[in-house]
């Protein structure tokens, strides 16, 4: 099981446990981070689960699809470490991952 450290929009940080096979978006929501709206339900269509990923982990994530890239482009808050959390699959390799929930668009 991976421990994931999450910084919410208020700047508070706490850790949650990830379950293999679930997306980071689902893990965040199950962990009580309601500000992750995930309006499209997790299929890379809405950009309401936007997070910033700790740079050290960016390389360990599956590559970004064109859809995801396009959606992030539509966000006013895109940064180099931006990802949609619905597109990140949680695994033990992500143990210690730090993410920050991006501001709302």
């Amino acid at each position: 099981m991976a421990t994931i450290y999450v910084c919410d929009r208020e700047g508070a940080e706490r850790s949650i446990q990830g379950t293999d096979g679930f997306s980071l978006m689902e893990t965040l929501r199950a962990g009580g981070f309601e500000e992750i709206l995930a309006i499209c339900g997790g299929c890379a269509s809405c950009a309401t689960c936007h997070v910033y990923v700790d740079a050290a982990f960016l390389e360990k994530l599956s590559p970004m699809s064109l859809d995801e890239d396009d959606l992030l482009d539509a966000s006013a808050h895109r940064r180099p470490e931006s990802r949609l959390s619905c597109q990140i699959r949680v695994s033990d390799a992500l143990d210690g991952l730090r993410v920050t929930i991006a501001p709302e668009d």
């Binding site: 709206l37 995930a38 339900g41 299929c43 269509s45 809405c46 859809d67 959606l71 539509a74």
Partner: protein, 399 residues
């Protein structure tokens, strides 16, 4: 031991003889779905010769594994229907699927939809204003059927003449996803009209310059798609954008009419609308069932599925699975049902969902501004082989 217990060896799963596409079930499907969920994660439907997946988890597994469960051999249950959709994104696999879907992806992207959203909101406000003045109206004919038809026909760039038939053709097109039944037979009869209409679009100047339809023909001129595929692709996108959105809007009227406390919540906090729409289509998923074909023998939740067998992806049932959703049959706009499958999941997820959301949200926002109550009468269901939706819904808006 009776003879009834003797079954072919491959059937190591429960069976059921329900006809999921008969009138009674189409009207009230949820008891049958609950029975299938109770029986198991994989249930062989003897009448349709297909392995049904009524629970949430296996549906999701199948949708996310497009290599084991392919669409290219047809996502419907009749041969004619499957042939008629050949090469369209919904019925193809990568790499063809990627190419075909890519042709219109930009026009359905979040960015493009944001550009037209102010227009949608203006048009929604006009429509809501009209029905509000009428007082009593048919929530389907006067409301939910109006909006997506206008939006989609304009987006695709279709000429004004002929638009009056589009809804009937879309209905027929969706019926063709069903098994060979009377509804399929009747829908097949409409096919020549649709083919003639498609051909008429090929003449220069018929599609509005700059429209999505025109862009598809331009892609053909560049050699990115075969010319004779343009018409079917345009019709596929048109259809996909009609009954689905229309019935999501009808279902929203029905559910908010029946649950005034939930309408109060939305009026107090319009930011709930996006989530509420997810809850509407979780409960009344516009597309109920589609097929996939298995490419290799494997085990799914204890069932051995051989290469070539068909599975039925039961979106509407998965979205009411008690093991996934607490109090699954309850309409709760605060639920935020992340992970619902009404738009599908994986590479075939609804390409137009951002647009559909913007349309439905524009209407609900306008309604929330004007109507304190949505009063509804007895609904009449419209029976279609795969689309769940209403034929008629008496509505009265209370200011």
């Amino acid at each position: 031991m009776t003879l009834d217990t003797l079954e072919p060896v491959r059937l190591n799963v429960p069976t059921d003889d329900v006809d999921l596409f008969c009138d009674d079930i189409l009207r009230y499907p949820y008891e049958a779905y609950a029975r299938l969920r109770e029986k198991g994660p994989v249930v062989f439907l003897t009448r349709h010769n297909i392995f049904a997946l009524p629970r949430y988890a296996p549906v999701r597994t199948v949708l996310e594994d497009h290599e084991t469960y392919i669409s290219g051999k047809g996502v419907g249950l009749s041969k004619f229907g499957n042939q008629s959709r050949r090469g369209t994104p919904i019925a193809s696999d990568p790499p063809l699927h990627t190419k075909r879907r890519g042709l219109v992806a930009e026009r359905l992207s979040l960015r493009s939809v944001r550009e037209i959203t102010p227009d949608l909101q203006r048009q929604a406000d006009v429509l809501v204003g009209t029905v509000a003045e009428q007082g009593e109206f048919d929530g389907v004919a006067d409301f939910s059927r109006r909006f997506p038809l206008m939006v989609m026909a304009d987006l695709i760039g279709l000429p004004q003449d002929g638009r009056e038939h589009l809804l009937e053709w879309a209905d027929a097109g969706f019926n063709l996803f069903g098994p060979p039944n009377e509804r399929v037979a009747k829908s097949e009869e409409r096919f020549p009209e649709v083919r003639d209409y498609i051909r008429s679009l090929e003449q220069p100047g018929r599609l509005r310059p700059g429209s999505m339809g025109a862009a598809i023909y331009e892609a053909a001129a560049r050699g990115e798609i075969e010319f004779d595929q343009c018409g079917p692709l345009i019709m596929a996108y048109l259809m996909a954008g009609l009954d689905t959105t229309i019935n999501a809007i009808s279902a929203a009227l029905l559910l908010f009419g029946r649950h005034p406390d939930q309408w109060d919540l939305v009026r107090e906090n319009p930011r709930l609308i996006a989530m509420a729409l997810n809850e509407v289509i979780r409960l009344e998923s516009p597309i109920q069932n589609l097929r996939r074909v298995v490419t290799r023998e494997h085990e799914l939740e204890g069932a051995i599925l051989e290469e070539g067998v068909s599975v039925l992806v039961m979106f509407g049932s998965a979205n009411r699975d008690e093991s996934r959703w607490q109090d699954a049959d309850r309409f709760d706009v605060k639920r935020n049902p992340v992970g619902h499958l009404a738009f599908g999941m994986g590479i075939h997820n609804c390409a137009g969902q951002t647009l559909a959301r913007a349309e439905a949200a524009s209407l609900l926002e306008a309604l929330a501004r004007r109507a304190r109550r949505i009063e509804v009468g007895e609904p009449e269901w419209h029976l279609n082989n795969v689309i769940r939706g209403l034929e008629r819904l008496p509505v009265r808006l209370v200011a």
